[in-house]
């Protein structure tokens, strides 16, 4: 938007201007549709299906009983026992952090613009905004959008399948 204000003589079609803020709003908004789309993309990087749980070390599971015993002993001695919160904190410190956390920590945004970094190496948005749509049910070219959830389908048949199995089933 800054660009438009700074250069009043630049000619732009009114159509793109109308669309762009809406798009920006859609991307920034926290509504379910975009969140679901982002979650879907995020899921592509998962190692195992389902929600990625940060697993504690293998031996942790085995040593649960020992822990309990130690804990009983400690309590009987009256020494300071580990609270659940402290334990959780310790586990969190030991657990491997995800790449996104590390990336956030590295604070690459603060680097000057000319320094190449992970963030600047990203290829960026495509030059054309056109996008092909494939039916979420059968995979062929889809001409219709579901009004409830925004996924695509290609025919009445696929719409029925979509409504029965998928529509809003994963958003809410």
């Amino acid at each position: 938007m800054d660009d438009e204000n700074s250069n009043p003589f630049r000619r732009m079609s009114s159509r793109t201007r109308k669309v762009a803020p809406k798009m920006a709003a859609a991307l920034a908004s926290s509504d379910n549709r975009t969140q679901a789309a982002l979650a879907r993309l995020e899921a592509l990087e998962n190692d195992n299906a389902g929600i990625e749980t940060i697993e504690p070390n293998d031996d942790d599971e085995a040593s649960l009983d020992d822990d309990d015993q130690a804990y009983m002993q400690k309590r009987s001695k009256g020494t300071k026992r580990k609270t659940r919160q402290a334990k959780a904190l310790e586990n969190a410190r030991k657990a491997p952090r995800t790449f996104l956390e590390l990336l956030h920590e590295a604070n690459l945004e603060s680097l000057p613009a000319h320094v190449p970094s992970y963030l600047r190496a990203a290829v960026g948005p495509p030059s054309s905004t056109s996008r092909r749509h494939f039916c979420s049910v059968c995979g062929f070219t889809a001409n219709y959008t579901c009004v409830t959830c925004g996924m695509r389908f290609c025919s009445g048949r696929c719409q029925n399948i979509h409504n029965d199995t998928r529509c809003m089933k994963f958003v809410a």
């Binding site: 990087e45 195992n48 299906a49 293998d58 491997p96 590390l102 992970y118 030059s127 995979g139």
Partner: protein, 435 residues
Amino acid sequence: MSNVVVLDNGGGLLKAGQGGERNPAVVIPNCLYRPLTSKKFLHPTTTLSSTTEDLTSAAIRRPIDRGYLINPDLQRDIWSHLFTSLLHVTPSSSSLLLTEALFSLPSIQRSTDELVFEDFGFNSLYVADSPSLVHLYEASRRPYGLVSEAQCSLVVDCGFSFTHAAPVFQNFTVNYGVKRIDLGGKALTNYLKELVSYRSVNVMDETFIMDDVKEKLCFVSVDVERDLQVARKRGNDNLFRCTYVLPDGVTHTKGYVKDPEAAQRHRILTDGATPSRAVETKKETDHLEVMEKSEERKRVDLTKNEFDLTNERFLVPEMIFQPADLGMNEAGLAECIVRAVNACHPCLHPVLFQSIILTGGSTLFPRFAERLEKDLRPLVPDDYQVKITTQEDPILGVWRGGSLLASSPEYESMCVTKAEYEELGSARCRRRFFH
């Protein structure tokens, strides 16, 4: 001097061996896995596609996420297994040549250095990036080719975690020109998993099996519109339909393609032949077989542990060429290459377009190079030539480059030794590698 261990520490496969040799001694998945029958995570001993073990619903732990080392403890575990039981080397008397993804974060570099010097105690270390190693290898293979004469190339590394288009000049990766797409083999496998799970059988847990499906059945479509029409046809006209049989755990522990010949039928659809004619010629040739095949299909269908693939076979690799279709706000591979070239000096543009090298496991999809050229040509100025070279073994290309570098006489002087690391610390040692 001491021997050099060359280690291409990829997100998917770990390639390791002695410097100077042609092929790595060990190629294993860089992960621990836990089959259903086991309570502990196990070390893979070979590539998992060649084991006879039952890998149904095996859980996986990977030390590398999105191409970067995030779990040093797990990596230490895998490396110590690798060095002691597979490679039989003593780290304290050898040097390590390690590959690392481009633009590694300082914290990750530090933990890698700690791993190499403090946990394993290697004598010296050289950290290389994969594009320059690929360039080195290709330049040495054709001493009078363009790549070595002009001393620059554009390496397209389409691996497990992501895809990079990296210009290389005088054996150094031009880091301001590198462009990255956040899509690689792992994302493609997961995407295929999602599609198959929604459309036929739930395979969300079967990472290894779906990897196998992807490698055997997926291909890159040269003309998506046409192929979608072919995939829509019914019965035997549909050249793309093929069936994959999931392991049942009793008679076979590995999945397999039901009819390997049918799986190859997509190859007859070349650009010249129209689909209908190709189908007809095919029809005449194996008219007799058809009856037997359909009989067979009906018979085995009762077991219900198989699924059909049609358009998924080419729509999955298609995502690398147009990530926007998936909803990602990223440009496709062809545009990625153009942007990488445009970031370099204009004098290099014609040479870079003529020396595109494809490497990485995801370029093994049939017709990858053909499609890339088709996409790239309209984006490149008319008077420039486009030439795409594929490596003879894209998975091992980086390792071979590393092996070559390790056997060169300058290698020793490029390394950081343990003493230097102890004196200067990680950050200052890293400056030597010009990353």
